[in-house]
Structure formats: C-alpha cells, structure tokens
C-alpha cells in the first residue's frame, strides 16, 4: 500500500477517501490560488475545477507557484500551469481547467463541495459568495493588500469562511456597499496592486487548514465561521474581533428558498 499519505493519517481513517472524492473549485490561480492548488494537490484532492482567464506574464514570476520562465514566453494560461502542477503529483486527478472568467462557466460550480476564492475585487467576491450560497457550498476567501501609509508600507490579508447558514461576508463587514462603490469607480486599479509570495503563502495555508477541518474530523473544536486577519508587518494572524461583536447575529441575507438552486 502506498505510504504517500501515511503522515496525515491522523486526519481520520476516511480522510483520504474524502479528499479523493472531494470536488474543489478554485477561482483565481494567481499568487494565492496557485499556492492553494499546490497544497490541495499534496493532500490528495481528487477533483479540481480551476478558473483563471489570464496567461503567465513576467510580473507573475515573483509569486505564481508552478510558473516558469518558459511559461512567460509561451504565454501559458494560468489554468494550464495549475493543471500541470496537479498532474505532476496526481496524474489521474480529475481536472476541469477553465481558462476564462468564472462567470462564463459558473454553472460548473454547482456540484462543488467547497469553493476557494482568490480574486482581486470585492465585487467578484460578492458574486462568488452569492453563487456559493445558492448551491450550499462553503466558500473560503483569501486576499492580501499592501498599503502605502506614507511613511511606510503595511501588508495585510484575510481568510474568511463563508458557511451557508452562517454569517456572510456582508454580515462580517468585509463586503460593504461603500467599498464596492469605490471599487467600481476605480475599476482598472486592481491589476496593478502590489502582490508578493510570502503573505499569499500564509493565507493559502490558513485557507487549506480551514478546508481540512471542514472535511475531516481531526479537530473536535469545530468552528462554523472563520475570519482571520493577517498582519504582515507584525507577522501575526488573529481572529477578527468583529466576530466577537457578531456572536448573537444571524445572517438574514440568504434566507429565501429563492436564493437556492436555479431561479430560472
């Protein structure tokens, strides 16, 4: 018998079967998403649905896990890079690469067990979360930012689990109308924001850790809501104190049966 997963047997006797059968979607295969693909591959996920419309550029090589110089020259789609990475470890994984905007093939998401969102905009996050809620899919979101404070830079990031039936990102105050409005006014800014590999690695690892806790019984202290804040200057990660103030709150954004399934 293969010893490949012997070191993670503490996750439970059925963990590998669960991972092998699990259907995971990753939207965004850039700095954060490529890390997530790598880690999920190594833990043995058997079914991947991966979305990214972009091709590898030279400016991606500072952080895109799996990408090479050759990919820059070949303008390799990021979905192809991710596919190659998965196949290099699990040759018979079921992989559906979608080198398009996820909205153009969103119906493929419906059968996913978990969706990871590694996207650049609040609007995208809102759309992904709403779609995930529609199909009762836990949604794990990651993102990082570098802020110019004038006198120095601040690196920050978040990992959020939006579990159906629990607080959504709007409840948590992460998605706000003012942020969405400001983003819509500055629609072309997202692509030029600073991005570096190490915060992406931290955030991706936390996200995968949350995923593993969703899928396996190894940690009895289950949590249904996660909102982790990364401080890249202090190198700390902490649960957002917003959750403390939201303990008694229930999400009232996705209550109707009209919010489930295909509304047409």
């Amino acid at each position: 018998m293969s010893q490949r997963y012997a070191r993670q047997s503490f996750l439970g006797p059925n963990a590998q079967e669960t991972f092998n059968n699990c259907r995971v979607a990753i939207i965004g295969l850039g700095g954060g998403g490529s890390h997530i693909v790598q880690q999920l591959t190594h833990i043995g996920i058997g079914n991947f649905l991966i979305y990214d419309a972009d091709q590898v550029e030279d400016s991606n090589l500072n952080r895109l896990v799996g990408a090479t110089r050759e990919d820059v020259g070949l303008k390799t789609p990021k979905a192809v890079v991710a596919t190659r990475l998965i196949r290099s470890v699990i040759p018979n994984a079921s992989i559906t690469p979608v080198p398009k905007k996820w909205q153009e093939s969103a119906e493929l998401l419906r059968g996913s067990d978990v969706v990871f969102g590694c996207v650049d905009s609040f609007s995208e996050r809102q759309q992904i979360e709403t779609t995930a809620r529609r199909y009762m899919i836990p949604y794990i979101d990651i993102g990082m930012d570098v802020h110019d404070l004038g006198t120095q830079f601040a690196v920050s990031g978040q990992v959020i689990l939006s579990m159906p039936g629990e607080l959504c990102m709007k409840c948590m105050g992460f998605l706000r109308e003012d942020l969405l409005a400001r983003e819509a006014e500055n629609y072309d800014v997202a692509g030029s924001r600073p991005q570096v590999i190490w915060p992406n690695g931290v955030l991706a690892s936390l996200a995968v850790g949350i995923f593993v806790q969703l899928m396996t019984p190894w940690n009895k202290n289950y949590r249904r809501v996660w909102y982790l804040e990364y401080d890249g200057n202090l190198q700390t990660v902490a649960t957002s104190n917003r959750l403390e103030y939201l303990k008694e709150k229930k999400c009232n954004h996705f209550l109707s049966v009209e919010d489930l399934g295909d509304p047409f």
């Binding site: 905007k101 996820w102 909205q103 153009e104 969103a106 119906e107 609007s123 759309q127 992904i128 709403t130 779609t131 809620r133 529609r134 109308e177 969405l180 409005a181 400001r182 983003e183 819509a184 006014e185 629609y187 009232n252 954004h253 996705f254 109707s256 009209e258 919010d259 295909d262 509304p263 047409f264």
Partner: protein, 110 residues
Amino acid sequence: MMLLPEQMGELKAICADAREMSEAGQAYVYLPGLRLPEGSNPAEADGLLSLQGREGYPTRLFLSQQIVGKGNNWNSFRILDKTWFACSWNNVSSALRLAEILAEHLRAFR
C-alpha cells in the same frame, strides 16, 4: 420588496413577461426579450433591472449580452446564477417609476 402592481403593469407594456425576482435581499425585475433601442446590436436581449443600490449605482440595467459599439466600460456580473453585462451608466434614481428607470437606462444605447 413588493413592487407596485401598476408600475409593474407599465413595465409589462414594454416587456410582456417582466417579473419580479430577488437575490440575497436585492430586488430585480427580469425582462426577458427586452427590445433595445433602434440600431442596437443585438436588437434584443434579456434584461435585469436592479432597483436597489449596488456598487454605487442606485439602479442598474444588466443585459444578457453586451451591445456592440454602445455603452462604455462593460463588465460582467453573475446575478441569479446567470452572467449579465452592464456598462457604466449611473445616477438613474430609484425614485422614478419603473418604466422611467428602464427608459433612462436604455438612453445609454441610443
């Protein structure tokens, strides 16, 4: 959000199968087969009229297809589990009657 029947009636005079829908507490009017202004390509598309503020737009018209050569800064959105397109045409007040809201948004394509 229940829409006034008489205003829905006015909309149905423009688009016979118009119906109310909602998602995550946001109200929309679905406008299947909406005829677009003369000279538009395509000549008709399904429409989705958002009646509550989102992304800084008090109301917004989403279409199932982009209109060739009309409207600026088209973007795609996933709403009601379908893909929609909208251009940047803002400041159409939600205080107008529904048919007026629609007419104001269609002005972007004249």
